[in-house]
Chain length 546, copies 2
């Protein structure tokens, strides 16, 4: 052993910010205004929490679940639970009672730490979680006392009070688990991905690279993407490592509330899904000049692909770079990044190409490997044309699901992502669709995402979803569900003509249906499963079959 | 195993640049002007070199030595030798024949790859290196044929020609060795540090962070710090990973030649030791307006601490940020970084403090741990006052020397750096001295580095060294060796008064000696051992003892 084999444990990174920038702030929105504490206080409270968990019998490897918004309590769990050797299981607060019951039992959660306002969603689980020993409640300022029939409930702040404000983090194996996230499966039961210290450590270092998210200690970082969703893309870990100021919106997720916080705290880096940024844009357009966003510099956008038109708007109107990130729960979660300019040769290309770059799923983060393969697992050329299933591997990619073998999700040491796309000659991954959402018409594939992006670019369209409807001859045909922008009167003919300007007739939707809203999944993606089910139960048939 | 345990092997990083930016350039200076090849060509030639080495019987773990300037051949070795599983031993071309003989034999070098112009320095080793099987010569354009009596010598380009331009890099253990550097020991024999894939992989990721060197694919990187010295601070590995353009000066190291290359290739990031930057500054001052350095943005400076005055000049005159990096061969090699602004709270501090920040050894790179300890190994407070020995540990810190146990260089799992300093309340390491260069006068320590920096800030002073002279009463007393700037007539009294403006009388030098030059070590540091030896052989005595 010639070089030290220091285990890649998270405490080595997460303790750093509180040491180099102890007075930097963590701001959490509350009904009584922003709650502020320093990074030093955050670490001290995380140490107290770790002591309280240990006193409650939590052992290395035990699952401690969170059921919480993005706030300082949740951030303290992010620091305490992995560093003390336990596993932070971030329960998705938007799941149904049935899903929660399945997941909490599958994970064997020993403790759940929940926000006060979310207790009603947990209440139906009382008596149904045999491994659950105790519930810790993060009280909401001014909300008054809480009640629950869940076992051994206690107030978070009272529970950790009096414990020492420092903790000697254990020296674990770097492959010890530190986090557990379940995917919102579109088929079958949710599947768990058990992150390790090593995988999250390496992901954190990668995220802090200039060429990836360019995160820095001088940033003011707003995590809108939920901490219960793919670990908020790992951003809390990076911010704790660097010593950046963090701004956490808690349950105040309306666009106006997010913008108020952004302007007031001078946020320069914010992270959210496309529907958030659509809402933020609409709020700005309806209230011109209301928010001073001069400091805002970069926003990251993931979960699903943002329309090009949205990317362009943020640059043209606000000078804000939308950094698209592609990944999934199984990739810990960031795998690629798409920036305006990702290499020197792009410095001299026209601005419109910079927008096109941002619209791609992006370039591979250093350390990962990517392939697009045909039906026989043969790697396809990087020509921007050869469409295939996307495979990925590397030190922060999952190799199996937690207590749930799914051999068809892996091929050798590659993760089969379920995404379909091409790699272009510039080595960008461009996704055409989730494999299950591709529309197969007459033996040819139609990309519902391409159609959605194109339709969304029309003024008068607020949101669009394209799904397949069954057809006896063509197998499937696309139809579009559209939500009009407030006050807009756009009609079907206009949308159809817009589609035919770019797509072949057979690729354009057979019909456009206008709706008041589009259903979203618990992670904010367009819920095509629900849309298709609703159409079926309505007895929908395509125009040429009526 | 829930997450993939992909070994952290260098090929996973180093192949990336050639893939995402295949047409990006590697520029090498030659007597006939710049030689240019692309990253794709560099990787192809590295693969050919790997095949040639394998065909010559090089096995994983075997030592392949380089004896070369910074150029594309050397860069190809950086890529080929580690990725194929062998160990790149970078021989320092400035060592004496005796040192080279000791080191090459201690390493057991099997092959030496040498630049043509450096063959004369190797020639005296003929017959003295029993493990050496073969010498590969990198011919210099226009230099004509070469000759050597070293065994089985062959031309590099001819040797690799015809081999396949791709190579299936082996899947090694991530703790397999990849590089070997010897420290220029000031006492005893040189000691080897055997870097592993894991240590260099993690170092590379850290170096590419925004908050460290901020390296990016859009950079044009000039490596002046030799690739035979602490792996050119790891910058070639980062540049290959990101796909950055590299500009390599080869043997054309005169300030004017470096500046010509910098201006012509539009370098924006350059790396060198303080003496290089002193020379560059002098050349610019003597030739105002000759070079267009508008693109130059950051220069890194390591090996020894640059005078504050130099840091300030680069910022004031050129708008260039000097990033100080501290480390050593034993730290793979980067451990800390010092930037103008390293955290948000510094954004609002006065500009003069930004210069002061740069003058410190810096903040710890994420992943490493640092302590300053007293004589009983007790950690000292981070108060900016408590001086002690600097200890460091982490995944790219050495844990033993290569085939040469040196137990006194380690304390538990900490490396005893031999540097002496304080940690201030902002968590910056500030070095006061190498422990062996501290001057002990009347039981108190005097920092020779502080005195040198202060004296260098005087106009009229080109270089200064402060060393200890023996004193029967005080134990040691400082004296200053000064090289005047060209045409300057500064005298001893002026320097003494300048010292007394900042230092106590007992801390100021007892005498100032003017010399035409100051001896440097093979790695460009002030060679205090030689200065002291020369004074002794001159029979130097302090003024009050005459």
């Amino acid at each position: 052993m010639t070089m030290q084999r220091t285990p890649l444990l998270l405490h080595r990174l997460l303790d750093r910010g509180a040491r180099i920038a102890p007075l930097e702030e963590v701001v959490t929105q509350t009904p009584e205004g922003p709650h502020r504490q320093t990074l030093a206080q955050t670490r001290a409270r995380a140490c107290q929490l770790a002591h309280a968990l240990r006193a409650a019998g939590v052992q290395p490897g035990d699952r401690v679940a969170s059921f919480a918004w993005n706030g300082h309590h949740h951030l303290e769990m992010y620091q305490a639970v992995p560093c003390m050797g336990a596993v932070l299981h971030t329960l998705n607060i938007r799941l149904s009672t049935g899903e929660l019951e399945y997941i909490a039992n599958h994970a064997g959660d020993k403790i759940i730490i929940a926000d006060q306002d979310l207790l009603p969603a947990l209440e139906p689980l009382a008596g149904k979680l045999p491994t659950l020993e105790r519930v810790i409640v993060c009280a909401e300022p001014g909300a008054g006392p809480w009640q629950t029939s869940l076992p051994n409930a206690v107030d978070y702040d009272e529970w950790i009070a009096g414990h020492p404000a420092d903790y000697e983090w254990p020296e674990l194996d770097e492959n010890a688990p530190m986090g557990l996230c379940y995917t919102s499966g579109t088929t079958g039961n949710p599947k768990g991905v058990l992150y390790t210290h090593r995988s999250t450590y390496l992901h954190t270092m990668a995220q802090c690279m200039t060429d990836v998210f360019e995160l820095s200690a001088v940033d003011i970082v707003q995590e809108i993407v939920p901490m219960f969703h793919a670990m908020s893309w790992g951003i809390p870990f990076s911010a704790l490592t660097l010593g950046a100021k963090q701004v956490l919106p808690h349950r105040f997720m309306q666009p106006e509330a997010l913008l108020d916080l952004m302007a007031q705290e001078q946020v320069n880096f914010s992270a959210g899904v496309p529907t958030i940024w659509q809402g933020v844009r609409a709020a700005i357009e309806q209230n011109p000049g209301r928010w001073d966003l001069a400091k805002l510099d970069r926003i990251t956008c993931g979960g699903s692909a943002p329309p090009l038109e949205l990317i362009r708007w943020f640059w043209d109107e606000l000078g804000v770079e939308v950094i698209q990130g592609w990944g999934m729960t199984e990739t810990n979660p960031l795998a690629t990044y798409a920036r305006r300019i990702a290499k020197r040769s792009q410095l001299s290309t026209p601005a419109e190409e910079h927008v096109a770059n941002q619209g791609k799923a992006g370039m591979l983060i250093p350390g990962l490997e990517l392939q697009v393969v045909d039906e026989n697992w043969k790697p396809l050329p990087h020509d921007g044309k050869s469409v295939g299933e996307v495979l990925i591997r590397g030190p922060w990619i999952c190799s199996e699901y937690y207590n749930d073998p799914q051999p068809d999700k892996f091929h050798g040491d590659w993760l089969v992502t379920g995404d379909v796309g091409v790699i272009d000659s510039e080595e960008y991954l461009v996704l055409t669709d989730r494999s299950k959402d591709l529309i197969k018409s007459g033996g040819e594939w139609i990309s519902s995402i391409d159609l959605e992006n194109h339709i969304c670019a029309l003024p008068g369209v607020a949101q669009a979803a394209v799904v397949a409807a069954p057809h006896p001859k063509w197998d499937e045909r696309p139809i579009a569900i559209v939500v009009r922008a407030p006050g807009a009167g756009i009609g079907e003919q206009e949308i159809q003509q817009h589609c035919l300007a770019r797509f072949a007739k057979w690729q354009a939707p057979d019909e456009v249906l206008f709706r008041d809203e589009i259903p979203l999944t618990s992670t904010g993606k367009i819920d095509k499963k629900t849309i298709r089910a609703a159409l079926q139960s309505e007895g929908y048939t395509l125009p040429d079959l009526r």
